[in-house]
């Protein structure tokens, strides 16, 4: 068995003049892997090419060593949860999952049984005989996962599967995905634009930004990187002048400036978040600096992507 379940070489995809994927060459490890990137980064395009929805403009992609385009033999082993919200609205959840199981090659009886079990697994049994048009966003998400796992595929592609789910369902879906990957040995590629969401499921990630694969590795490495990236903190305080004077004495504070939109706030740029937060606590207690509000402005994924892109 190969070490990687997906391999791509110079994978490109254009939508007319727009380049959605730009020379992606990656080898994705077995197990659960998070495909991380902001909206419009090319995650869905990558998943659509990997599942034979789209054909690449150039380059090569292999899943389990086989080309996927027009290859039903490899597609038999796939389960795909697409991002789109609209499904076969007039169908009941059970019928929807059953019909798709049949198209995967399960006999009617087996499909019906498998559909009921898959629906039960995602916790939709009570709603399975209701039309999908009456489903909430979270329920739609769950029925999409049910149709992806109904035929017991070896490889799962999940496009933003936790989107629109409530915290309880989200937790359970995370457990389900982990179970499928760890206990049943499925290879899972799961896309998301939220780091902590993926972090709860897996430690292995592939970062995509503006159609390019910019980093691959463990989330802990990304976390370390986050701590080194300069970022801005916005503080509301009546002691603006005093706080600014104190802060500028420290090396890890790069800049202090009043907020242009609201002069009650000051914006502090730092390259060491841990040291900064420790200092703020000390100042509040020892120097009696009044801190009314504090918020981080750009410590999200976007900042990491920007940083990695510029560094590249």
């Amino acid at each position: 068995m190969k070490e990687y379940f997906i391999e791509t070489y110079d994978l490109n995809k254009w939508y007319k003049e727009v380049m959605a994927l730009n020379k992606i060459t990656v080898k994705i490890d077995r197990g659960i892997v998070g495909l991380l990137g902001p909206n419009g980064a090319g995650k869905s395009t990558f998943l659509n090419i990997a599942t034979a929805q789209l054909r690449q403009s150039s380059g090569e992609i292999y899943v389990e060593g086989s080309e996927v385009w027009n290859n039903p033999e490899i597609l038999k082993r796939f389960g795909f949860c697409p991002e789109q919200e609209i499904l076969f609205e007039w169908m009941t959840g059970r019928k929807f999952v059953r019909e798709l199981a049949q198209i995967s090659g399960l006999s009617r009886e087996a499909a019906n049984k498998a559909a009921v079990e898959a629906i039960k697994l995602v916790g939709l049994t009570e709603a399975m005989d209701r039309a999908i048009k009456g489903y909430s966003k979270g329920m739609r998400q769950r029925i999409k996962i049910a149709q992806a796992i109904v035929h017991d595929p070896e490889i799962l592609f999940l496009d933003e599967p936790l989107q629109s789910t409530d915290p309880l369902v989200r937790r359970e879906l995370v457990q389900l995905i982990q179970k499928l990957g760890r206990d049943f040995g499925k290879n899972i590629l799961i896309s998301s634009h939220i780091l902590h969401e993926v972090e709860r499921i897996t430690n292995k990630i592939l970062l995509i930004y503006s159609g390019r694969a910019i980093a691959q590795g463990s989330i802990s490495e990304i976390r370390e990187l986050m701590d080194k990236i300069p970022f801005t903190i916005r503080i509301k305080t009546p002691d603006r002048k005093r706080l600014a004077t104190i802060l500028l004495d420290y090396d890890f504070v790069l800049n202090v400036a009043p907020d242009i939109e609201n002069f009650e706030y000051i914006n502090i740029r730092t390259n060491n978040s841990n040291a900064f937060y420790k200092l703020i606590q000390e100042l509040a207690v020892e120097s009696k600096v009044k801190i009314l509000e504090m918020a981080t402005l750009d410590a999200g994924l976007e900042a990491i992507f920007d940083y990695l892109t510029k560094r590249k």
């Binding site: 929805q53 033999e73 609209i86 995967s104 399960l106 087996a110």
Partner: protein
């Protein structure tokens, strides 16, 4: 509280073959296309000629004296001539718009709706090729369209045979009539269905697909009638869908004697061979164009 306190079960059963998967697409689509309430009304409207003939047969058998019934059944001619006449009634230039509108209206959403609802992703991630998808959808279109062709025709044939009875010598004619009816129906369904299927694949809007297929099926006849004002030539008639159907069916039925109550109906002057070739070729071309289009289709 845990929502998913159940364990995942692996599937160890059989995975069916390619034909089963194609058939699953066909039947699923067929059920969707046939689920509307307006369908029944359209169906009755399009099958009015067949329904009228069938009801006439039944009423004459129940309410009329034996000699009237014999006159009526005898007057219709043999079973083959009668069936041929019925087909021509349904598809004559004056009434052909009904089955065309039915076939186009019901099938124009076959692929368009999947595109509109982004359902293509759900299909194409299954173990099917785009050819399988196209064939599944085409089968569904042909099945739906059969409800204005050989399904009601078979109902009429069965009624006719039950009322008139089949003697030993007529068995061969009866069997041939059933086969010819099926062949004629399938030829029409394949020809028109493939055209509608193609136009259903070009847009997300089923209405647009329907309008375009109706135009494609009607425009040649209109153009031909305009040209015929200036040029006198037999080949112009090949532009008329109604006339090529008549010619094809006439040949399939073995050029039956079309005398009904002494009147000569629907004798075709066009070459049946050319008509059949045209219909099959056009059907295949549109089917191939649909497959080609699906291979170029990008899931949005």
């Amino acid at each position: 509280m845990s929502v998913f306190n159940r364990s995942y079960r692996e599937y160890k059963g059989e995975i069916k073959g390619r034909f089963f998967r194609i058939w699953s697409i066909a039947t699923q689509t067929f059920r969707v296309q046939f689920s509307g309430k307006k369908i029944i009304f359209l169906l009755i409207l399009c099958n009015l000629p067949v329904i009228s003939f069938t009801l006439m047969l039944i009423f004459s058998a129940i309410f009329f004296p034996a000699f009237v019934r014999e006159f009526f059944l005898g007057g219709l001619g043999g079973v083959d001539a009668t069936m041929y006449t019925i087909i021509n009634f349904s598809f004559n230039p004056g009434l052909i718009f009904l089955p065309i509108v039915f076939i186009c209206a019901l099938n124009s959403g076959t692929i368009a709706n999947d595109k509109k609802n982004n359902s293509l992703a759900l299909y194409f991630s299954r173990p099917i090729t785009r050819i399988d998808y196209a064939i599944g959808k085409a089968l569904s279109v042909y099945m739906v369209s059969s409800f204005v062709t050989f399904v009601p025709w078979f109902v009429f044939l069965v009624t006719f045979n039950l009322l008139e009875g089949v003697s030993g010598l007529a068995i061969k004619t009866v069997i041939m009539t059933y086969l010819s009816t099926f062949a004629s129906g399938f030829l029409i369904v394949f020809f028109m269905g493939s055209i509608v299927l193609y136009f259903s694949s070009i847009s997300k809007q089923s209405v647009l697909g329907g309008i375009l297929s109706i135009l494609v099926l009607f425009l040649p006849s209109l153009v031909a009638s305009l040209i015929a004002e200036f040029i006198e030539a037999d080949w112009i008639q090949y532009f008329s869908i109604a006339l090529i159907i008549v010619a094809a069916v006439f040949l399939i039925f073995g050029s039956p004697s079309t005398s009904m109550f002494g009147m000569n109906f629907f004798e075709s002057t066009l070459s049946g061979g050319v008509a059949i070739t045209l219909m099959i070729t056009i059907g295949i071309i549109f089917l191939l164009m649909t497959i080609n289009r699906l291979y170029r289709e990008e899931v949005s």
